[in-house]
Symmetry: C2
Subunit: 312 residues, 2 copies
């Protein structure tokens, strides 16, 4: 069986052209560009909690990095560097090789240097830390939404939750929705280009990791505002509509922008070939109050806003 | 049971005076001082692999940060920021409160802002990422050792391994050694002041996490040099001597420095009230060849250089 150090050298050591020092010392060394701040984030993915134990390792490798890249997108930051810490039950080389291929496919797709990490034995767990650059003061925060702003979302959230429900036998999808939803679940596409383009346009942003309503709720709390949504859903949402409202794991962006910049947002969507949908408005009501209406103005019953790891 | 978000707000959100943006958004924002590079490192600690499941949570909180601080010390970097990702089997508040008290005790001892992280459900696993500053080009690397350099170690490695052996019933320590060894195991003291003082003095450095000989081996490999040690051990090392040679988890620093700066190193040890011992010399032999002799010049039998997570 190869040693921990041989595994790292064989599968996780690649060129790091944007770094002062990459894999192999007690730490890596990087330097943000002049005038830039460094945005940092970490996400931990655990077998059985965040992914099914039989997930294809190449898909998993893609996803553990992609969900972190998504945090950079939500901050309007350009992802540039990442660290990978991994606990593995055993050093199964074929599994690790596939995992690394997916991980580095994502790194290459977004121009990220993988500059270090940690490898250890234990129940399968991956913790990525990602670093991005943003011009000083230009980051997109959750706290900037103001009454009158419009609320937007990219793409079509809910597909990952539908794919997961299918795999868990709680829903039965047929083609072409099945492939579409499983791709959304296994190969999420972080909206980096959108995040970068939203600098100076969006007033607040977050990525949809816990669910559309839950993550919008974080913007409302931190901005101290309320919101009203008008959505193409039923008063008692169907399964598919519930996935749209509360399903996590999609990594689309929710953002707010001044109403007088509505046309600019639509042009941006066309430029990026990405659907951007206006869901409603920020209001001055009680902080974090969220009103969800159908397109006819009827109230929508919300069973659950989203996912909480320790909710009973 | 409190939610994930309530737990973070209650136990893990503290002031972050050295940061642009702390806990609570998709990412945190920091900016290294002008002329400084950022040194980053991540370490994952897993229940059953890195710590006994019944470890006192306050000790564990200290240790998961301290082992990362030690990586900054080994790079000659000033630790400034940290992220904490934690997988927990359940949200037991009393446990989390104690863990947080130890974690923040370490953060405060070293002036570190805890700027974010992740909390999730799963087998107990802690992954800290740490960020430090170093003047550009001044970091201590593993690759700088040169023939003729002397090899030094701080403190007395091996005590943590003795403490662990006692807890696992493989050794029986009595006081005062017992308290001393358990303190070394549970409350390691990263050698930050030493690391900072070694800038411009040491040619290479590493911390003792896998074992003295194993970690010295990393310096030899990356510097392309060999070494000869003259040590106060027996030709067939006793248990205590084996712990000194190959025990991990001590977080002392091994470093190399030019022989003509021997006196400066001794003065530094006095200044820091820290024992600094010269163990031998770097030589020009085959890369990574390591000769270990007694003080009488007899060869020492080495069973194992140190710890490897996937060694069979």
């Amino acid at each position: 069986m190869p040693s921990e150090f041989a595994l790292i050298n064989r599968y996780f050591k690649r060129p790091t052209p944007h770094s002062v020092l990459g894999v192999g010392d007690d730490g890596a060394i990087l330097q943000p560009a002049a005038g830039c701040e460094l945005v940092v984030s970490t996400d931990m993915l655990v077998a059985g909690t965040h992914f099914l134990p039989n997930t294809d390792p190449a898909d998993l490798g893609w996803k553990v990095l992609a969900v972190n890249v998504s945090d950079m997108a939500a901050m309007g930051a350009q992802p540039k560097w990442a660290l990978l810490a991994a606990a593995l039950p055993a050093a199964t080389e074929s599994w690790i090789e596939k995992f690394a291929s997916g991980f580095f496919a994502c790194a290459e797709a977004f121009g990220i240097d993988v500059i270090g990490g940690d490898t250890t034995q234990g129940p399968r767990n991956f913790c990525v830390t990602i670093f991005g650059e943003v011009p000083a003061g230009a980051a997109l925060l959750r706290s900037g939404a103001r009454p009158g702003d419009e609320i937007w979302v990219s793409g079509a959230p809910g597909r990952a939750a539908q794919g997961l429900a299918h795999l868990q036998g709680q829903a039965l999808l047929s083609e072409p929705a099945l492939t579409d939803c499983l791709t959304a679940l296994h190969r999420p596409q972080p909206r980096v280009a959108l995040g970068l383009a939203l600098r100076g346009l969006a007033t607040a942003a977050i990525d949809v990791s816990d669910g559309l309503l839950a993550d919008l709720g974080h913007i409302l709390e931190q901005s101290g505002v309320a919101a009203t949504l008008q959505l193409a859903v039923s008063p008692a949402p169907t399964f598919e509509e519930q996935c749209f409202l509360s399903g996590g794991d999609d990594y689309e962006l929710i953002f707010t922008a001044p109403a007088d910049r509505h046309a600019e947002v639509l042009v941006l969507g066309k430029t990026l070939s990405l659907s951007l949908s206006c869901l409603g408005q920020i209001t001055a009501g009680n902080a974090a109050a969220l009103t969800v209406l159908t397109l006819d103005g009827a109230p929508v019953t919300i069973a659950r806003r989203g996912y909480d790891h320790f909710a009973s």
